[in-house]
Amino acid sequence: MDKQRRNFLKIASVTALAGIGAPALVRLTSTAAVASEHVAAAGHAPAKEKAGAHGEAAPKGVRLGMVIDMRRFVENPRLLNNAIAACNLVHNIPQIDNSKSEIKWLWKAPFTSVFPEQSAYHAAGNVENTSFAVLCNHCDDPPCVRACPTQATFKIPGNGIIAMDYHRCIGCRFCMAACPYGARSFNWEDPRPYIKKYNPDFPTRMRGVVEKCNFCGERLALGQEPACVEACKGTGAMVFGDLNDPKSEIRRLLDKEFTIQRNASLGTKPSVFYIV
């Protein structure tokens, strides 16, 4: 049962990204997995399979990522709240009002928390006073997946999403110790009484399992954008797409703007980029 659902999710997301019956995603990822292969064959991509410790490996397949443009969030202070609310609603995230047990997928934090390795000495005012969007980085080399003893958290080969199998997780919380970004939450008690409005399209979780942002894998499979991206539609605050596709919107933005990733020195290769 478990395995079937996992396989279904994998296949569903891959087919969605390949553009079969998913018009919205076709635009996001243009020619999907095939595009990057063409590039590699034409010799535009780095020649070696592995670029070694000083760079990312040559792109292979689809790698979903996100650019968070903080300038847009500063212009429109309500935008981030809308995105968070959309995420909470879509994923039945319990609203537990205590920092000890709270569940967070997408949330707000100050610059010094999100980028503790960056200096905030005499930082520009808009950096000091802005709440940054924080979510799972969907690392290309995720320490949580390495640590999990049951493969309950795993990388979906077709799109690079770090997903969770809530029915396999034993609740050892090794992944929480392993994640250098604090992206994971644990259900210290039954979350269901804390769900404000129930969305029947996404499973609720039981106590004793870990959860986190899933890049809306379930929505991608239906050809929809992630809930937070949809909430920011038209503003360009959150741009989502295939990092390996040179023609994708996200790549055009990355090529144009200077972006930073959270603590990239750890070698985890985060797939979430920030324009400060």
Binding site: P143, T150, N263
Partner: protein, 390 residues
């Protein structure tokens, strides 16, 4: 041999009843936790491991400490340990049972624990930890039982058992090395991300395990007329001293690296442990008194051990010193090491961990279970020993 546990003096039964009452408390607390969830503990989103995992970590060391008797006796043919090597093997059994109970108590979904076996994952250190712990437990049960049976019959142990005895030596090292690897391979946790964690764990283990055995020998001498022999005790104390000094040395190296490099991430946890960490105008320091107690106990015990009078003449002081070093190492590894690793959190917030009463109840219950098993196993050893003598 098992019948030996059924006959004992009233004090023996009272001791078991005493431990039994704590086991009952622990079981009741666990029932509450099982029904409600781990929210009954003091653990949080930021400090996601607490007393259970820290006790597990410490007790893996106690289990590995048994090898400090097995190795001299079987590899170096150090006959003086002949009578007490079995105590080390049986201590390992009790300690590993405690480790496993602590892991089970810590799981959010304990009924799914077999998933670790159903979906074996070699890139997870937890998978390997399970393998070596089960391996070491089996080896100690097998070797202890076969050798004690042979001793009772007055014959040499079968030759094949020596293969398993020798195998248990690398296994003892591996259980604590792999436990260290649970921590020291995690990016972004500066306090744990250090290659000296495994050697440091082993050093403290080789002091804590034998210290507990010395205490057990002193107790057994009084209550069960079981004399380990002065020479054996003297040698054990030497082992404890060297191991405790190495552990102290390793900890001081960590302090040097942190403060001389002046890299904030390397200093934060040490600062939090020993001086308190300031954040947004608040100083977080709930572990400071514990850590300084550990330092004082550690150096006092080392001082006492260095006096020949304490080592050879005064059993009370010897026992006291062993209790002191055991407590010092327990605070160092069984509290400070795990809790401080989560401070500050990846988002540079500081959340302090304070265990709840229910959590303490479970913890005491597991320790009582371990001592219950240890008592019963040592009762067998003493019974067999007396049978041979008479």
């Amino acid at each position: 041999m098992i019948e030996k546990i059924l006959r004992g003096k009233p004090a023996y039964w009272m001791w078991l009843a005493f431990l039994g009452s704590f086991i009952a408390i622990g079981a009741a607390c666990y029932a509450r936790q099982y029904l409600f969830g781990l929210g009954l503990t003091g653990m949080s989103r930021d400090v996601s491991w607490g007393l259970y995992i820290s006790q597990f970590t410490f007790l893996v060391g106690v289990a590995a400490g048994g090898v400090m008797l097995v190795l001299p006796y079987y590899v170096h043919n150090y006959k003086v340990f002949g009578k007490i090597t079995i105590l080390g093997e049986f201590l390992a059994i009790a300690a590993i049972v405690m480790c496993m109970l602590f892991i089970m108590a810590d799981l959010g979904q304990p009924l799914r624990a077999v998933n670790v076996i159903l979906h074996p994952t070699p890139h997870s250190m937890l998978f390997w930890d399970m393998c070596v712990l089960i391996g070491y437990l089996s080896l100690n049960i097998l070797c202890g039982w076969v050798i004690l049976t042979a001793e009772r019959k007055g014959v040499h142990p079968p030759r094949w058992i020596y293969f398993f005895v020798y195998l248990s030596i690398p296994f003892a090292v591996s259980i604590h090395t792999v436990t260290a690897m649970l921590y020291c391979g995690l990016p972004g946790r500066h306090f744990w991300l250090s290659a000296i964690i495994a050697p440091r764990f082993l050093a403290s283990a080789f002091a804590a395990g034998p210290a507990l055995i010395v205490i057990a020998c002193l107790v057994l001498k009084r209550v069960a007329n079981f004399d380990a022999g002065k020479q054996a005790m003297d040698k054990l104390v030497t082992i404890i001293m060297y191991a405790a000094m190495l552990n102290t040395f390793f900890v001081l190296l960590e302090v040097f690296v942190g403060y001389y490099s002046n890299i904030p991430g390397h200093k934060h946890s040490i600062e939090y442990l020993f001086f308190g960490l300031e954040h947004h105008g608040h100083v977080y320091n709930n572990l400071v008194p514990f850590m300084w107690t550990s330092v004082v106990l550690n150096f006092s015990a080392l001082g006492l051990f260095s006096l020949p009078y304490v080592r050879r003449k005064n059993e009370f002081l010897l026992g006291l010193s062993c209790v002191m070093i055991f407590l010092a190492l327990w605070i160092d590894k069984g509290l400070g090491f795990v809790f401080a690793g989560f401070v500050p959190s990846p988002l540079h917030e500081i959340v302090e961990y304070i265990p709840t009463l229910n959590e303490l109840g479970i913890t005491i219950g597991v320790w009582a279970t371990g001592f219950f098993i240890l008592t019963v196993l040592y009762k067998i050893v003493v019974g067999v020993e007396h049978e041979i003598e008479s």
